[in-house]
Point group: C3
Chain length 316, copies 3
């Protein structure tokens, strides 16, 4: 899409350099054919370093943009971004792509659905009721149990096991809210990347990224009914026990263990080799490996000590 066309569809006056635009991205990630946005003045310092072709900004912020970047001046950049995200949403299910390529020994059972344009390796097993969307790639020896759904454009490695009913690549929970309290969907145009040797339990949900990828790294183990929000990164060999909830953009190092029903608040990092006890609520970065628990989160030994103090308070 031409930048002029992009502006026209959004009723933004256009007077900059014409460019081909092929997507949206964050300020620091955007390339020369992408549009970005700034809503929160707190991040204004990121404007000067962006490589975006154009940026949706308020008039007051436009001056901070580098010379080669076209300001697209609007009153509510985040709302306009949401509207623009629809332009780049791929079709949900295309039937006119090339036939999928299926490796030797792979069995696609009756009642499974593999959409066009996908590539599945050798000795995989796609069981009845499983759905594989367009342009999905799957390595070798990977198993999709019945009624698994893999949305389009996601990538699964080799030797993965995905149990029944699990959903990979559904839209992240993204929307902009108007002053009137109405929500405008932000299309989630990224994907999910699952590396090799990952096992995921049943009825778990892993959302696709808004831009780029939600990533589950090599050797991870995820239990049943776990939620992984958009743009999370789960480090190698990490373990997510049943009913864990990772809010968007949680970044877990390798060998992190999240106990049952524990959760993160999103946009935070957890150091490698950290354990979060069951029910722990991670409210900010965990910079130092250790065992943590409670909500708000504290060292687990302190949480145990606090329970002792409360027991004494109860008897007092």
């Amino acid at each position: 899409m031409k930048l002029s066309e992009f502006c026209q569809k959004l009723a933004i006056p256009f007077s900059g350099e014409e460019r081909e635009i092929n997507g949206l991205n964050a300020l620091q990630e955007a390339g020369q054919n992408e549009v970005s946005f700034l809503e929160n003045p707190k991040y204004a310092s990121q404007l000067s370093g962006t490589n975006a072709a154009a940026v949706l900004v308020t008039e007051a912020m436009a001056q901070h943009l580098p010379e080669q970047c076209t300001p697209l001046i609007v009153d509510e950049p985040y709302i306009v971004l949401a509207k623009a995200s629809a332009f780049f949403a791929p079709l949900r299910l295309e039937h006119d792509l090339p036939e999928s390529i299926i490796g030797e020994g792979t069995v696609i059972e009756e009642g499974a659905f593999v959409a066009k344009g996908s590539r599945i390796g050798e000795n995989c097993h796609i069981m009845p009721g499983a759905f594989v969307g367009n342009n999905v790639t799957i390595g070798d020896n990977t198993i999709l149990y019945p009624n698994v759904t893999v949305y389009r454009d996601c990538k699964l490695g080799s030797d993965c096991i995905i149990h029944a009913g699990t959903v990979i690549g559904s839209d992240g929970f993204g929307f902009a809210t108007t002053k009137l309290g109405e929500h405008v969907k932000i299309y989630q145009n990224g994907n999910v990347v699952i590396e090799d040797d990952v096992e995921i339990g049943s009825n778990t949900t892993i959302d696709r990224a808004v831009f780029k990828s939600t990533v589950i790294k090599k050797g991870v183990r995820i239990d049943n009914l776990v939620q992984v929000g958009h743009n999370c990164v789960v480090g190698e060999y990490s373990v997510l026990v049943s009913q864990v909830g990772l809010a968007g953009s949680s970044n877990l190092g390798r060998n992190v263990v999240m106990g049952g029903q524990s959760a993160t608040a999103g946009h935070l990092s957890i150091a490698p080799f950290t354990t979060i006890a069951a029910r722990g609520g991670v409210t900010k970065n965990v910079d130092k490996a250790g065992v943590y628990g409670g909500f708000p989160l504290m060292e687990h030994r302190l949480w145990l000590k606090l329970q002792g103090k409360l027991a004494r308070l109860l008897k007092a």
Copy 2:
């Protein structure tokens, strides 16, 4: 069903006015062709105002009924109600209803199942593995992703997006327990109504009402793995973050935000524009808009203060 037949099937002596009975309902909602019940003497004052054709009551309560209402005297009204609920349960899947009416531009993909008697609007997309039961109505432009299940008699509006694996209209968690501790199913003969412009994440569950409807109003956003119990009403533009649990008959005003893993205890109301922080447990009505958190629920600023006090207690 004739009232005399209703009584005969339940072995209740019948000596009132003959009526046609077409369902069960709560005392205050029941109409002239419905039977109601009173188990808890606390609600005896509702008896005199009921319009029900007949009411299952204990002998002691029967005197409070209005003249035109037939008392059906039993020892355990709630158990008998449960048994009677089975009489009005519709067939799970009928094949001899009229062909469904499918609007122009709507695509029903191979592997999707649309039962008879339904009506789907224009430009909808019913993806592989999705199931639409009998007599479902769906507006225009609505999307059901793979492996979504919509039980019979539910209604979805226009411009809705339902992500993979989500279940709409499964039976609410209803049963009567005998003195011996055995459970008798209360058939859930209501439905789910989802208004326009609602997006629901993956593997979420929304139960049908026991009587009447569970309602998700216009513009609501629901994330993944959320539970909405029977007879809930979720107000316009409300937001339910992942792993929220709404117990039965929770009534949320417009623009209520429920943070991740928060929950309600059921049979309560939350004022419009209220925010419940992540993990908040709503144990009684929230009458005043504000930000609340903790379990039991308190103002969020008090919850933060309490955490400060506990931190000091820990150091003491």
Copy 3:
């Protein structure tokens, strides 16, 4: 498999009595054609009483084995057990077993998949998108709603109702972790047994046992989005409200009620007729029936008292 072959595949020197081995099992459960293991020296006293054909042990522990039992000496018994578990994993989906036997009046709807070797009783209803694996047995009058998945070898009783999207028999969350932090899958070669008159909500997950069975006893009611871990036993007429999580090997007596979002830590027992309030976290055995709540768990009346104390602390 011959014991010598078993050893050869694991590169363990073999010099005992040749036996036919048909599976793995816990020390106290293993029979004369099974191999067991001991990792934790704490349980060394169980060695002398085992009936296993052979036991994976460290050299230091081998002396405690009874004479008829062959020690299989390895450095890391649990890791070797994990590797051996793969030998006994059945095929995921076999097509060359005998045709399934379907009782009179049972309807298998279009789009449902019933694998070979299964036996379904009379008047059952298997709805579109439901999957029934090999060698499953189902009693009479049982209903599988759309997109339910029942893994192979599971057993369901009569008069059961399984709501949409629920998964029965997915693999328990089992793996051994190497010193390098990598995980080796422990194949879950047991099954799930669901007795008569059980109703299970939508998108719930019940994992198969690692050895033997996960058991849901007669008359149990399970709500939506509940997790039941491997080798749990849920007693007659127990009630699990939405979003409950039972960790592996939780053993609930009859008529236990677990409130919404409550959970267990696994490898523990709960006395019959116990109620765990919503959000309660069961961290150790509950030996005496009563009402409990909080996390860590306490008597519910104490939890209420504690909240009163905390309210006063807040005002101080």
